[in-house]
Symmetry: C2
Subunit: 189 residues, 2 copies
DNA sequence: CCTCAGGTAAACCGATCGGTTTCCAATCCG
DNA sequence: CGGATTGGAAACCGATCGGTTTACCTGAGG
Protein backbone atom coordinates (compact mmCIF):
# COMPACT_ATOMS: atom_id res chain seq x y z
CA UNK A 1 0.00 0.00 0.00
CA UNK A 2 1.06 3.53 -0.52
CA UNK A 3 2.37 5.47 2.42
CA UNK A 4 -0.33 8.08 1.98
CA UNK A 5 -1.59 9.08 5.38
CA UNK A 6 -4.30 11.57 4.49
CA UNK A 7 -4.92 13.74 1.47
CA UNK A 8 -4.62 17.48 1.93
CA UNK A 9 -7.64 19.72 2.34
CA UNK A 10 -7.17 20.81 -1.23
CA UNK A 11 -7.18 17.23 -2.51
CA UNK A 12 -10.17 16.28 -0.43
CA UNK A 13 -12.12 19.26 -1.76
CA UNK A 14 -11.26 18.40 -5.35
CA UNK A 15 -12.29 14.81 -4.80
CA UNK A 16 -15.57 15.76 -3.10
CA UNK A 17 -16.35 18.24 -5.86
CA UNK A 18 -15.71 15.60 -8.52
CA UNK A 19 -17.86 13.00 -6.78
CA UNK A 20 -20.79 15.16 -5.73
CA UNK A 21 -21.13 17.26 -8.88
CA UNK A 22 -21.05 14.09 -10.96
CA UNK A 23 -23.79 12.50 -8.90
CA UNK A 24 -25.94 15.53 -8.04
CA UNK A 25 -25.02 18.14 -10.62
CA UNK A 26 -23.20 21.45 -10.43
CA UNK A 27 -26.06 22.86 -8.34
CA UNK A 28 -24.69 21.06 -5.28
CA UNK A 29 -24.20 23.43 -2.37
CA UNK A 30 -20.89 24.49 -0.91
CA UNK A 31 -21.99 23.33 2.54
CA UNK A 32 -22.47 19.82 1.20
CA UNK A 33 -19.10 19.93 -0.55
CA UNK A 34 -17.31 21.08 2.59
CA UNK A 35 -19.04 18.54 4.77
CA UNK A 36 -18.17 15.70 2.39
CA UNK A 37 -14.56 16.86 2.25
CA UNK A 38 -14.28 17.47 5.99
CA UNK A 39 -13.07 20.98 5.27
CA UNK A 40 -14.32 24.35 6.46
CA UNK A 41 -15.85 26.87 4.08
CA UNK A 42 -13.15 29.25 5.13
CA UNK A 43 -10.52 26.90 3.75
CA UNK A 44 -12.48 26.38 0.56
CA UNK A 45 -12.57 30.09 -0.15
CA UNK A 46 -8.93 30.52 0.81
CA UNK A 47 -7.86 27.73 -1.52
CA UNK A 48 -10.13 28.33 -4.50
CA UNK A 49 -11.73 31.75 -4.14
CA UNK A 50 -15.18 30.64 -5.24
CA UNK A 51 -17.33 27.60 -5.83
CA UNK A 52 -17.04 28.14 -9.59
CA UNK A 53 -13.25 27.99 -9.42
CA UNK A 54 -13.38 24.86 -7.28
CA UNK A 55 -15.52 23.16 -9.90
CA UNK A 56 -13.17 24.24 -12.67
CA UNK A 57 -10.14 23.03 -10.73
CA UNK A 58 -11.87 19.75 -10.00
CA UNK A 59 -12.54 19.13 -13.69
CA UNK A 60 -8.98 20.07 -14.64
CA UNK A 61 -7.60 17.79 -11.95
CA UNK A 62 -9.56 14.84 -13.30
CA UNK A 63 -8.53 15.35 -16.90
CA UNK A 64 -5.47 13.14 -16.68
CA UNK A 65 -7.44 10.25 -15.21
CA UNK A 66 -10.11 10.74 -17.86
CA UNK A 67 -7.55 10.47 -20.64
CA UNK A 68 -5.78 7.56 -19.00
CA UNK A 69 -9.01 5.65 -18.60
CA UNK A 70 -9.87 5.96 -22.27
CA UNK A 71 -6.74 6.17 -24.39
CA UNK A 72 -4.44 3.21 -25.01
CA UNK A 73 -0.83 3.48 -23.84
CA UNK A 74 1.28 5.43 -26.31
CA UNK A 75 3.25 3.46 -28.90
CA UNK A 76 1.85 0.07 -28.05
CA UNK A 77 2.16 -1.12 -31.62
CA UNK A 78 -1.55 -1.07 -32.33
CA UNK A 79 -2.99 0.49 -35.44
CA UNK A 80 -4.88 3.80 -35.32
CA UNK A 81 -8.08 1.86 -35.98
CA UNK A 82 -7.46 -0.37 -32.99
CA UNK A 83 -6.58 2.61 -30.85
CA UNK A 84 -9.85 4.35 -31.68
CA UNK A 85 -11.80 1.19 -31.03
CA UNK A 86 -10.01 0.86 -27.71
CA UNK A 87 -11.41 4.21 -26.58
CA UNK A 88 -14.95 3.10 -27.25
CA UNK A 89 -14.40 -0.30 -25.65
CA UNK A 90 -13.44 1.60 -22.52
CA UNK A 91 -16.63 3.63 -22.71
CA UNK A 92 -18.64 0.44 -22.84
CA UNK A 93 -16.75 -0.94 -19.84
CA UNK A 94 -17.29 2.26 -17.85
CA UNK A 95 -20.97 2.30 -18.75
CA UNK A 96 -21.28 -1.01 -16.95
CA UNK A 97 -20.01 0.11 -13.58
CA UNK A 98 -22.62 1.22 -11.04
CA UNK A 99 -22.88 4.96 -10.62
CA UNK A 100 -21.96 5.64 -14.24
CA UNK A 101 -23.65 8.83 -15.43
CA UNK A 102 -22.02 9.50 -18.77
CA UNK A 103 -19.33 11.99 -19.68
CA UNK A 104 -19.03 14.48 -16.83
CA UNK A 105 -17.68 17.17 -19.14
CA UNK A 106 -20.71 17.01 -21.40
CA UNK A 107 -22.99 17.12 -18.38
CA UNK A 108 -21.23 20.18 -16.98
CA UNK A 109 -21.51 22.02 -20.27
CA UNK A 110 -25.21 21.24 -20.52
CA UNK A 111 -25.93 22.16 -16.91
CA UNK A 112 -23.94 25.39 -17.02
CA UNK A 113 -25.77 27.24 -19.74
CA UNK A 114 -23.14 29.95 -19.54
CA UNK A 115 -20.28 28.99 -21.83
CA UNK A 116 -17.99 31.50 -20.11
CA UNK A 117 -18.28 29.76 -16.74
CA UNK A 118 -14.76 28.66 -15.75
CA UNK A 119 -15.82 25.03 -15.36
CA UNK A 120 -17.51 25.10 -18.77
CA UNK A 121 -14.30 26.40 -20.32
CA UNK A 122 -12.27 23.60 -18.76
CA UNK A 123 -14.75 20.98 -19.91
CA UNK A 124 -14.67 22.37 -23.44
CA UNK A 125 -10.90 22.23 -23.55
CA UNK A 126 -10.76 18.65 -22.36
CA UNK A 127 -13.26 17.49 -24.96
CA UNK A 128 -11.46 19.44 -27.65
CA UNK A 129 -8.36 17.47 -26.78
CA UNK A 130 -10.29 14.24 -27.28
CA UNK A 131 -11.46 15.51 -30.66
CA UNK A 132 -7.83 16.27 -31.54
CA UNK A 133 -6.83 12.77 -30.53
CA UNK A 134 -9.45 11.29 -32.83
CA UNK A 135 -8.32 13.53 -35.67
CA UNK A 136 -4.66 12.65 -35.21
CA UNK A 137 -5.42 8.95 -35.24
CA UNK A 138 -7.67 9.37 -38.26
CA UNK A 139 -4.91 11.15 -40.13
CA UNK A 140 -2.32 8.59 -39.19
CA UNK A 141 -4.69 5.82 -40.19
CA UNK A 142 -5.19 7.33 -43.62
CA UNK A 143 -8.87 8.17 -43.27
CA UNK A 144 -10.46 9.75 -46.33
CA UNK A 145 -11.56 12.83 -44.40
CA UNK A 146 -9.87 12.81 -40.99
CA UNK A 147 -11.65 15.90 -39.80
CA UNK A 148 -15.09 14.54 -40.65
CA UNK A 149 -14.29 11.18 -39.09
CA UNK A 150 -13.08 12.79 -35.89
CA UNK A 151 -16.28 14.84 -35.61
CA UNK A 152 -18.36 11.74 -36.26
CA UNK A 153 -16.50 9.83 -33.57
CA UNK A 154 -16.98 12.46 -30.92
CA UNK A 155 -20.67 12.72 -31.81
CA UNK A 156 -20.93 9.01 -31.16
CA UNK A 157 -18.83 9.41 -28.02
CA UNK A 158 -21.13 12.07 -26.60
CA UNK A 159 -24.23 10.29 -27.85
CA UNK A 160 -23.48 6.95 -26.24
CA UNK A 161 -22.23 8.57 -23.06
CA UNK A 162 -25.38 10.65 -22.79
CA UNK A 163 -27.75 7.78 -23.56
CA UNK A 164 -26.08 5.41 -21.14
CA UNK A 165 -25.64 8.16 -18.57
CA UNK A 166 -29.35 8.87 -18.36
CA UNK A 167 -30.01 5.16 -18.19
CA UNK A 168 -31.93 4.58 -21.41
CA UNK A 169 -29.46 2.22 -23.12
CA UNK A 170 -26.82 -0.15 -21.84
CA UNK A 171 -24.80 0.11 -25.07
CA UNK A 172 -24.40 -3.65 -25.36
CA UNK A 173 -23.70 -4.55 -28.97
CA UNK A 174 -24.12 -0.95 -30.04
CA UNK A 175 -20.80 0.83 -29.89
CA UNK A 176 -18.39 -1.49 -31.68
CA UNK A 177 -20.46 -1.97 -34.83
CA UNK A 178 -21.28 1.73 -35.01
CA UNK A 179 -17.68 2.86 -34.75
CA UNK A 180 -16.53 0.11 -37.09
CA UNK A 181 -19.07 1.24 -39.67
CA UNK A 182 -17.79 4.81 -39.53
CA UNK A 183 -14.15 3.69 -39.73
CA UNK A 184 -14.94 1.45 -42.68
CA UNK A 185 -16.77 4.22 -44.48
CA UNK A 186 -13.72 6.47 -44.05
CA UNK A 187 -11.66 3.66 -45.57
CA UNK A 188 -9.63 3.35 -42.41
CA UNK A 189 -8.98 -0.36 -42.34
CA UNK B 1 -54.69 36.82 -38.19
CA UNK B 2 -56.23 34.53 -35.66
CA UNK B 3 -58.86 35.93 -33.36
CA UNK B 4 -56.83 34.94 -30.30
CA UNK B 5 -57.01 37.74 -27.81
CA UNK B 6 -54.81 36.45 -25.00
CA UNK B 7 -53.67 33.00 -23.96
CA UNK B 8 -54.98 31.69 -20.68
CA UNK B 9 -52.90 31.76 -17.51
CA UNK B 10 -52.31 28.07 -17.95
CA UNK B 11 -51.02 28.50 -21.49
CA UNK B 12 -48.83 31.44 -20.54
CA UNK B 13 -47.29 29.43 -17.71
CA UNK B 14 -46.59 26.47 -19.97
CA UNK B 15 -45.00 28.75 -22.55
CA UNK B 16 -42.87 30.58 -19.98
CA UNK B 17 -41.75 27.28 -18.48
CA UNK B 18 -40.76 25.95 -21.90
CA UNK B 19 -38.84 29.09 -22.81
CA UNK B 20 -37.06 29.75 -19.52
CA UNK B 21 -36.12 26.19 -18.65
CA UNK B 22 -34.71 25.72 -22.13
CA UNK B 23 -32.58 28.84 -21.87
CA UNK B 24 -31.65 28.76 -18.16
CA UNK B 25 -32.16 25.18 -17.09
CA UNK B 26 -34.64 23.49 -14.79
CA UNK B 27 -33.14 25.35 -11.83
CA UNK B 28 -35.05 28.47 -12.85
CA UNK B 29 -37.09 29.87 -9.98
CA UNK B 30 -40.87 29.92 -9.74
CA UNK B 31 -40.84 33.67 -9.18
CA UNK B 32 -39.10 34.14 -12.52
CA UNK B 33 -41.55 31.79 -14.22
CA UNK B 34 -44.56 33.61 -12.80
CA UNK B 35 -43.18 37.02 -13.64
CA UNK B 36 -42.47 35.97 -17.24
CA UNK B 37 -45.96 34.52 -17.56
CA UNK B 38 -47.68 37.45 -15.86
CA UNK B 39 -49.33 35.03 -13.47
CA UNK B 40 -49.40 34.89 -9.69
CA UNK B 41 -47.76 32.08 -7.76
CA UNK B 42 -51.14 31.32 -6.27
CA UNK B 43 -52.48 30.54 -9.73
CA UNK B 44 -49.45 28.44 -10.58
CA UNK B 45 -49.98 26.22 -7.55
CA UNK B 46 -53.71 26.03 -8.15
CA UNK B 47 -53.21 24.98 -11.75
CA UNK B 48 -50.23 22.65 -11.45
CA UNK B 49 -49.71 21.83 -7.79
CA UNK B 50 -45.93 22.16 -7.89
CA UNK B 51 -43.06 23.45 -9.98
CA UNK B 52 -42.11 19.89 -10.89
CA UNK B 53 -45.56 19.22 -12.31
CA UNK B 54 -45.49 22.47 -14.24
CA UNK B 55 -42.20 21.43 -15.86
CA UNK B 56 -43.59 18.01 -16.69
CA UNK B 57 -46.75 19.51 -18.17
CA UNK B 58 -44.67 21.97 -20.15
CA UNK B 59 -42.61 19.18 -21.70
CA UNK B 60 -45.68 17.12 -22.49
CA UNK B 61 -47.37 20.13 -24.04
CA UNK B 62 -44.42 20.69 -26.37
CA UNK B 63 -44.18 17.07 -27.51
CA UNK B 64 -46.52 17.51 -30.47
CA UNK B 65 -44.58 20.50 -31.77
CA UNK B 66 -41.33 18.59 -31.29
CA UNK B 67 -42.59 15.69 -33.37
CA UNK B 68 -44.12 17.97 -35.99
CA UNK B 69 -40.88 19.91 -36.36
CA UNK B 70 -38.86 16.76 -37.04
CA UNK B 71 -40.98 14.11 -38.68
CA UNK B 72 -42.16 14.30 -42.29
CA UNK B 73 -45.91 14.37 -42.96
CA UNK B 74 -47.37 10.88 -42.83
CA UNK B 75 -47.77 9.03 -46.12
CA UNK B 76 -46.03 11.55 -48.29
CA UNK B 77 -44.75 8.87 -50.61
CA UNK B 78 -41.16 9.10 -49.51
CA UNK B 79 -39.11 6.04 -48.68
CA UNK B 80 -38.21 5.16 -45.09
CA UNK B 81 -34.61 6.15 -45.85
CA UNK B 82 -35.74 9.58 -47.00
CA UNK B 83 -37.99 9.96 -44.00
CA UNK B 84 -35.15 9.24 -41.61
CA UNK B 85 -32.86 11.61 -43.46
CA UNK B 86 -35.60 14.24 -43.25
CA UNK B 87 -35.52 14.11 -39.46
CA UNK B 88 -31.82 14.84 -39.40
CA UNK B 89 -32.10 17.57 -41.99
CA UNK B 90 -34.53 19.26 -39.64
CA UNK B 91 -32.04 18.95 -36.80
CA UNK B 92 -29.44 20.70 -38.90
CA UNK B 93 -31.90 23.45 -39.76
CA UNK B 94 -32.87 23.93 -36.12
CA UNK B 95 -29.23 23.99 -35.06
CA UNK B 96 -28.80 27.07 -37.22
CA UNK B 97 -31.42 29.23 -35.56
CA UNK B 98 -30.23 31.56 -32.80
CA UNK B 99 -31.02 30.36 -29.32
CA UNK B 100 -30.72 26.72 -30.27
CA UNK B 101 -29.51 24.68 -27.31
CA UNK B 102 -29.94 21.11 -28.44
CA UNK B 103 -32.64 18.62 -27.52
CA UNK B 104 -34.52 19.96 -24.51
CA UNK B 105 -35.54 16.47 -23.43
CA UNK B 106 -31.96 15.26 -23.24
CA UNK B 107 -30.99 18.39 -21.31
CA UNK B 108 -33.80 17.88 -18.81
CA UNK B 109 -32.81 14.29 -18.22
CA UNK B 110 -29.19 15.26 -17.67
CA UNK B 111 -30.04 18.17 -15.39
CA UNK B 112 -32.56 16.21 -13.33
CA UNK B 113 -30.34 13.46 -11.99
CA UNK B 114 -33.42 11.85 -10.49
CA UNK B 115 -34.98 9.62 -13.14
CA UNK B 116 -38.24 9.50 -11.18
CA UNK B 117 -38.78 13.24 -11.44
CA UNK B 118 -42.07 13.77 -13.33
CA UNK B 119 -40.40 15.92 -15.97
CA UNK B 120 -37.68 13.33 -16.47
CA UNK B 121 -40.33 10.66 -17.01
CA UNK B 122 -42.07 12.76 -19.63
CA UNK B 123 -38.80 13.46 -21.42
CA UNK B 124 -37.92 9.78 -21.43
CA UNK B 125 -41.27 8.85 -22.91
CA UNK B 126 -40.99 11.40 -25.70
CA UNK B 127 -37.53 10.23 -26.69
CA UNK B 128 -38.64 6.61 -26.54
CA UNK B 129 -41.30 7.51 -29.07
CA UNK B 130 -38.63 8.91 -31.36
CA UNK B 131 -36.66 5.68 -30.98
CA UNK B 132 -39.80 3.74 -31.90
CA UNK B 133 -40.25 5.91 -34.95
CA UNK B 134 -36.71 5.16 -36.10
CA UNK B 135 -37.24 1.45 -35.51
CA UNK B 136 -40.51 1.38 -37.42
CA UNK B 137 -38.94 3.13 -40.37
CA UNK B 138 -35.93 0.84 -40.21
CA UNK B 139 -38.18 -2.20 -40.28
CA UNK B 140 -40.27 -0.88 -43.10
CA UNK B 141 -37.12 -0.01 -45.01
CA UNK B 142 -35.80 -3.53 -44.68
CA UNK B 143 -32.79 -2.74 -42.52
CA UNK B 144 -30.62 -5.71 -41.60
CA UNK B 145 -31.03 -5.10 -37.90
CA UNK B 146 -33.78 -2.51 -37.35
CA UNK B 147 -33.30 -2.41 -33.63
CA UNK B 148 -29.58 -1.76 -33.88
CA UNK B 149 -30.07 0.87 -36.58
CA UNK B 150 -32.68 2.69 -34.51
CA UNK B 151 -30.36 2.78 -31.51
CA UNK B 152 -27.53 4.05 -33.68
CA UNK B 153 -29.73 6.77 -35.10
CA UNK B 154 -30.86 8.06 -31.74
CA UNK B 155 -27.26 8.03 -30.50
CA UNK B 156 -26.39 10.27 -33.43
CA UNK B 157 -29.50 12.34 -32.78
CA UNK B 158 -28.56 12.96 -29.17
CA UNK B 159 -24.88 13.36 -30.03
CA UNK B 160 -25.36 16.03 -32.66
CA UNK B 161 -28.02 17.82 -30.62
CA UNK B 162 -25.74 17.89 -27.60
CA UNK B 163 -22.65 19.01 -29.52
CA UNK B 164 -24.47 21.76 -31.35
CA UNK B 165 -26.44 22.70 -28.27
CA UNK B 166 -23.32 23.44 -26.24
CA UNK B 167 -21.90 25.35 -29.19
CA UNK B 168 -18.90 23.23 -30.09
CA UNK B 169 -19.96 22.18 -33.60
CA UNK B 170 -22.25 23.70 -36.18
CA UNK B 171 -22.98 20.30 -37.75
CA UNK B 172 -22.35 21.58 -41.27
CA UNK B 173 -21.49 18.67 -43.51
CA UNK B 174 -21.58 16.28 -40.59
CA UNK B 175 -25.06 14.87 -40.17
CA UNK B 176 -26.06 13.75 -43.65
CA UNK B 177 -22.94 11.69 -44.40
CA UNK B 178 -23.00 10.14 -40.94
CA UNK B 179 -26.61 9.03 -41.14
CA UNK B 180 -26.19 7.91 -44.74
CA UNK B 181 -23.23 5.76 -43.72
CA UNK B 182 -25.27 4.04 -41.02
CA UNK B 183 -28.22 3.52 -43.35
CA UNK B 184 -25.95 2.10 -46.02
CA UNK B 185 -24.29 -0.26 -43.57
CA UNK B 186 -27.73 -1.55 -42.55
CA UNK B 187 -28.40 -2.13 -46.25
CA UNK B 188 -31.30 0.28 -46.16
CA UNK B 189 -31.05 1.79 -49.63
C1' DC C 1 -76.97 47.48 -7.35
C1' DC C 2 -75.02 43.83 -4.84
C1' DT C 3 -72.64 39.59 -4.63
C1' DC C 4 -69.40 36.36 -5.44
C1' DA C 5 -65.67 33.85 -7.96
C1' DG C 6 -61.19 34.30 -9.86
C1' DG C 7 -56.87 36.16 -10.10
C1' DT C 8 -53.01 39.38 -9.01
C1' DA C 9 -49.67 41.49 -5.95
C1' DA C 10 -47.24 40.99 -2.11
C1' DA C 11 -46.23 39.53 2.49
C1' DC C 12 -44.80 35.64 4.65
C1' DC C 13 -42.76 30.86 5.84
C1' DG C 14 -38.63 27.92 6.88
C1' DA C 15 -34.81 26.26 4.30
C1' DT C 16 -30.90 26.86 1.59
C1' DC C 17 -27.97 29.50 -1.55
C1' DG C 18 -22.82 31.51 -2.08
C1' DG C 19 -19.84 33.90 0.74
C1' DT C 20 -17.71 36.23 5.15
C1' DT C 21 -16.43 36.49 9.80
C1' DT C 22 -15.58 35.20 14.48
C1' DC C 23 -13.77 32.18 17.78
C1' DC C 24 -11.05 28.54 19.45
C1' DA C 25 -8.19 24.42 19.54
C1' DA C 26 -4.42 22.08 17.55
C1' DT C 27 -0.04 22.35 15.64
C1' DC C 28 4.36 24.01 14.52
C1' DC C 29 8.77 26.28 15.37
C1' DG C 30 12.24 28.67 17.88
C1' DC D 1 7.88 26.26 26.92
C1' DG D 2 5.88 30.46 24.46
C1' DG D 3 4.12 32.61 20.68
C1' DA D 4 2.59 32.59 16.02
C1' DT D 5 0.06 30.17 12.34
C1' DT D 6 -3.25 27.10 10.65
C1' DG D 7 -7.70 25.43 9.91
C1' DG D 8 -12.18 23.65 11.54
C1' DA D 9 -16.94 24.77 13.68
C1' DA D 10 -20.37 27.68 13.48
C1' DA D 11 -22.59 32.11 13.55
C1' DC D 12 -23.80 35.40 10.40
C1' DC D 13 -24.97 38.00 5.93
C1' DG D 14 -28.42 39.26 2.26
C1' DA D 15 -30.56 36.86 -1.42
C1' DT D 16 -33.26 33.33 -3.22
C1' DC D 17 -35.41 28.78 -3.05
C1' DG D 18 -40.35 26.25 -3.32
C1' DG D 19 -44.58 27.01 -1.39
C1' DT D 20 -48.64 29.30 1.42
C1' DT D 21 -51.51 32.95 2.75
C1' DT D 22 -53.64 37.38 2.97
C1' DA D 23 -55.62 41.37 1.03
C1' DC D 24 -57.35 43.70 -2.67
C1' DC D 25 -59.30 44.34 -7.24
C1' DT D 26 -62.05 43.28 -11.26
C1' DG D 27 -65.64 41.39 -14.08
C1' DA D 28 -69.85 38.48 -14.58
C1' DG D 29 -74.60 37.12 -12.99
C1' DG D 30 -78.75 37.80 -10.64
Amino acid sequence: MTTEAKPSSRERLLEAAATLTYRDGVGIGVDALCKAAGVSKKSLYQLFGSKDELLAASLKEGAAAFVASLLPPADDGRSPRERILHVFEQVEVQAGVPGFRGCRYLAVQIELKDRRHPASRVARRIKRNLLSYFRAEAEQGGADDPDLLARQLIVVFDGVNARAGIGVDNLKGLIAPTVATLLDAADMR
